[in-house]
């Protein structure tokens, strides 16, 4: 892993013309300045900052979990925890829906998984034209800080796979920090939730996978 450094806004993270400014950085004179609080990372001479706290910033292609807050004449308004509400158009539903029977697909208060299809000035557009997307019928929902989602998933999904195997639950992690856990027993679902909360609280520990393995061993006794 490349070396990472904690930086604060306004701090110089690299000097000279050898580096290029990446995400959340800016070039001022011949030095690269941090614009956000987080970890500075260098890869192929490109400096970027990974933020560690704050609200969710939606990106195109993100899989998210949200709640239906309103029905309009041609779609649903979904709260995904971002500053803007997201909109799921009737056109983005993979089957035919009668315009006056939107409730049959999703009602106000339903949770659903979706993909961010586009972000424009007016807001965020969602789509459920993919396998596994759409209304959530059963299971439990838990929330974590969206910046800690990469730690929950782990390297190539190693962490989430371990939690899935240990608890026997099916877990879907939205990029916005909302997690859907579905198992055959409520006890297993709650156990998975507990595991996720443990990972979130220990998210800065290096060698986290081993730590979580140990935690599972202790809990199983």
């Amino acid at each position: 892993m490349t070396e990472r450094k904690i930086v604060i806004p306004g701090e110089e993270i690299a000097k000279g013309d050898d580096f290029l400014p990446g995400e959340n950085t800016e070039k001022q004179g011949d030095s690269i300045i941090a614009l956000k609080y987080g970890l500075a990372e260098e890869s192929n001479k490109l400096m970027r900052i990974i933020p560690l706290s704050g609200v969710y910033h939606p990106r195109r292609g993100n899989s998210v979990i949200g709640k239906v807050v309103m029905l309009t004449f041609n779609g649903w308004v979904i709260d995904i925890g971002a500053a803007d509400n997201a909109f799921l158009s009737l056109m983005e539903v993979p089957r035919f829906v009668n315009k006056d029977q939107l409730e049959e697909v999703m009602e106000i208060g339903d949770m659903m998984t979706a993909k961010i299809w586009a972000i424009n000035k007016r807001g965020i557009d969602l789509s459920i034209k993919d396998r596994g997307l759409g209304r959530i019928d059963e299971g439990i929902i838990t929330k974590i800080n969206p910046n800690k989602v990469p730690r929950i998933i782990g390297k190539e999904g190693s962490m989430i796979k371990m939690v899935k195997d240990e608890t026997g639950c099916n877990i879907t992690v939205g990029q916005n920090g909302i997690i859907w856990i579905k198992g055959d027993k409520v006890e297993n679902e709650l156990f998975a939730k507990k595991a996720i909360q443990f990972i979130e609280s220990k998210s800065f520990v290096s060698g986290l996978t081993d730590e979580v393995q140990k935690w599972f061993k202790g809990e199983k006794k």
Binding site: I6, I8, Y37, L52, S53
Partner: protein, 237 residues
């Protein structure tokens, strides 16, 4: 100017009160921080960026920064009436102006960033402590910023210039010319985003005041920087 001037609380003229700072103290906020100058303690919590409501207050060109400075009723010796007052409204506005130049607020159109500052214990320089805490809390909330601001007050009691005014020096002292209070806010690169003057001072002295404030703000900046770094894994990589 006497060489060995010792203040009421035993400090040298350019010595700051012991400072303390901590990040992430309000779990429900998107970003939060505490900043302490001796007996003055400020807590700042940031909510947002979120959608501005009511809709007619939205600005499609850039985001809005909304600060709210509040002194707790028990923060001073005589209980103060809770709720907004002439003074707190003014300081809220001042705080907004001190912070806005470093925020990259253009990135958040139609959105608002709420900053709530609570003074839980007051002994002068509350606006400085509030601005320092707010700057840290904004960084903690993951908002794009050009820089961090550090605030410090320089004062004058009779003819002696002092850094980081305390309650006695600000309000009780009344010998000779009386007390003067000059709060400053600097970016880490030494640019001024806020300056106020309460009292009177001549232009010669003011040059020294600038010098003292600049040096004091550097000490504040170091404390803020350390607190932000310590918030992640105890400062380790």
């Amino acid at each position: 100017m006497a060489k060995e001037f010792i203040r009421d609380d035993g400090r040298k003229f350019d010595e700051l009160r012991p400072m303390k700072a901590k990040v992430g103290i309000v779990p429900n906020a998107d970003g939060s921080a505490m900043f302490q100058f001796g007996d003055t303690i400020a807590i700042a919590s940031v909510f947002g960026p979120k959608k501005m409501h009511p809709q007619h207050s939205q600005n499609p060109e850039k985001g809005t920064l909304r600060c709210n400075y509040n002194m707790m009723s028990f923060s001073v010796e005589d209980r103060i009436r809770p709720g907004p007052s002439r003074r707190s409204t003014e300081i809220s506005k001042i705080t907004e102006w001190a912070l806005e130049p470093v925020l990259m607020i253009d990135d958040y159109p139609n959105q608002v960033i709420d900053v709530h500052i609570h003074i839980i214990q007051a002994s002068a320089s509350t606006r400085c402590a509030g601005i320092n805490a707010a700057a840290m809390a904004l960084a903690h909330a993951g908002i794009q910023m050009k820089d961090i601001v550090s605030s410090i007050a320089v004062g004058k009691i009779d003819k002696q210039l002092i850094v980081d005014v305390n309650k006695y020096e600000d309000s009780v002292f009344d010998e000779g010319e009386g007390a003067t209070d000059i709060p400053f806010t600097f970016t880490s690169k030494g640019k001024i985003t806020h300056l106020q003057l309460d009292g009177k001072i001549n232009t010669e002295d003011f040059k020294t005041v600038m010098q003292l404030a600049r040096e004091g703000s550097k000490k504040v900046y170091e404390v803020q920087k350390q607190a932000l770094k310590d918030a992640i894994n105890g400062g380790k990589e």
